[in-house]
Symmetry: C2
């Protein structure tokens, strides 16, 4: 490889984590990963998932550490470990209780989506027909998340709710894993209007490598993906883009069914898939696991980014976002 | 008053906390208080109690702060605030789940009694007829508490379990609120054997001002209490004693009934009281609330302690114990 980015930080993964995955993270020189620890889990179930992670931090302390701050991410880099940052793809862990936001923050949560595909108590999801915007409870939650330093993530939220959240939040928000609609008009991808508002407010988007978010899906080429990144950089500025691979490695199809269906439907929801493609999509050949970030780095260089911009996209932008976002008053 | 101790640290209180109590803490120059936030509460109920405290930390941030380390206690002193340290008088918050110990530690718990009057899943309480010692689960819990820096408190535990805990724990333990049996032979007070083992292992006892733990109960004199402290200092060393007032201010009698009966009995357990005295005892006239620590300071001076030893008993011993106890590897 012609260039090693200073940091490699991934804005979202949901793997079947085990020592093998952590070893691949180290092989791929991955500095930090925002990991999903809840989709539909309630508070107690989310705590149980945190306990599972706590055991992994003990058992694999030579490979990973639990990061609660940008400083912890830097410490991980210095120790040749991968920093793990907790996040939720839905607000189910806080149930109907505003005070649980601080409890979850104290336990390490640093990202929370206000909704996941469906209407939540806080915001509308991207698969609902109508989007009435951020709810009354949602406004309270945004204020509390702002106070603590829990990042608002609108990856799976609908357009109006997302614009509302950007407007209502006093701190920059994130879209941890999605792509621009101008490139691939999936319901999960984001309009020019959202991207512009996001960037103007100091926010960041992590570009997804999940095939359903890619033009051509599993056949998407590295060059096409990186060309999209170049166009996005032109439109919203290279400081507001990063990677959020949405890597979902090692799970069987029951897991993607849980992500889509939770406990909310008797019908089967196929999400971005379909009845004929109900399971996980095949990964693109140039990004199968954590060892493949080097391909993305090279792809970005090949479409004309200089090394300074590649460093930003591959990690520095996320690190700076963490610095501003993960504590009560930034820093 | 002839002497102001460097720090005033109270090893245990369970008040009906509100702004008035916090103002009294400041008036009494109280640096830190270990507060009880669970007797019989399960995990979720304990979290709800933490949420109540989180709101109080916000609403009364001019008077109190949440302390998780000895450094936080020193910060409180520098800011003229009182540091609040969370603790449980029972192991009910961890339910039957070893992994909840780390979760509770992450949420700020720094003391946990292994049992409260009754047999628990971990240890025997002081009102049981027989004491089989620390249980299998208890041994695991002690190891986990040692690993994290969650202090083992045996105030309400029985003799053999307490000796076992001192022996099994790789770190010094605390008896946050009790007195020596040699002075007042209440079931809640501690034998010479326990006190000696406690001190030899580097532990600390906080002397209680709860009338049922005092010679003469509510009629106990300040001089008698301080003379007891002087004898204890001779027997186990002045470095191993402090104050753990057990101040229970402002509660009605339903609260002491909850403390004694939880959800475990259909009969009424009167604890240290009796059918004719079912409620809270009257406080001693020289220690009614947080403004009265000056009386204790003066009483200690009057029975012959020098100012250096008074500083230790009133706060420095606890601070040094916190320094050694509240993190994974001390410090």
């Amino acid at each position: 490889m012609t260039h090693n980015p200073i940091y490699i930080i991934d804005g979202l993964q949901y793997c079947r984590w085990d020592r093998g995955v952590f070893e691949q993270m180290r092989e791929g020189r991955v500095t930090a990963v925002h990991v999903t620890i809840a989709y539909w889990e309630n508070f107690r179930e989310t705590v149980a998932n945190m306990q599972t992670w706590n055991r992994m931090f003990e058992d694999h302390s030579d490979l990973i550490l639990h990061a609660r701050s940008a400083g912890d991410v830097r410490d991980a880099a210095a120790q040749d470990k991968t920093a793990i940052i907790f996040g939720f793809q839905n607000c189910s862990p806080m149930e109907d209780d505003l005070g649980l936001i601080e409890v979850l923050y104290d336990l390490g949560a640093r990202f929370m989506q206000l909704s996941y595909n469906n209407q939540s108590l806080l915001a509308t999801g991207c698969y609902e027909a109508d989007d009435p915007g951020i709810t009354r409870f949602g406004k309270q939650a945004i204020r509390e998340m702002n106070r603590l330093g829990l990042v608002i993530d609108m990856s799976h939220s609908a357009e109006r709710s997302t614009l509302d959240a950007i407007d209502l939040s006093e701190r920059p928000i994130a879209i941890t894993h999605a792509n621009p609609s101008f490139w691939e008009p999936a319901l999960r991808n984001k309009s020019d209007r959202v991207l512009k508002a996001l960037a103007e407010s100091g926010g960041i988007i992590g570009f997804s490598l999940y095939p359903f978010h890619l033009k051509g899906n599993s056949d998407c080429t590295l060059e096409d993906f990186c060309t999209m990144a170049a166009r996005a950089a032109e439109e919203i500025g290279v400081d507001h883009i990063g990677i959020g691979s949405d890597l979902c490695q090692g799970h069987d199809d029951s897991v993607v069914a849980w992500m889509r269906n939770g406990r909310w439907t008797r019908d089967t929801d196929f999400g971005e898939g379909s009845k004929s493609k109900p399971g996980w999509p095949d990964p693109v050949p140039w990004f199968k696991d954590n060892r493949d970030f080097g391909n993305v780095t090279q792809g970005l260089l090949d479409v004309g980014f200089d090394t300074e911009d590649v460093d930003k996209i591959m990690g520095l932008n996320w690190l700076h976002f963490f610095e501003e976002s993960f504590s009560a008053h930034g820093g």
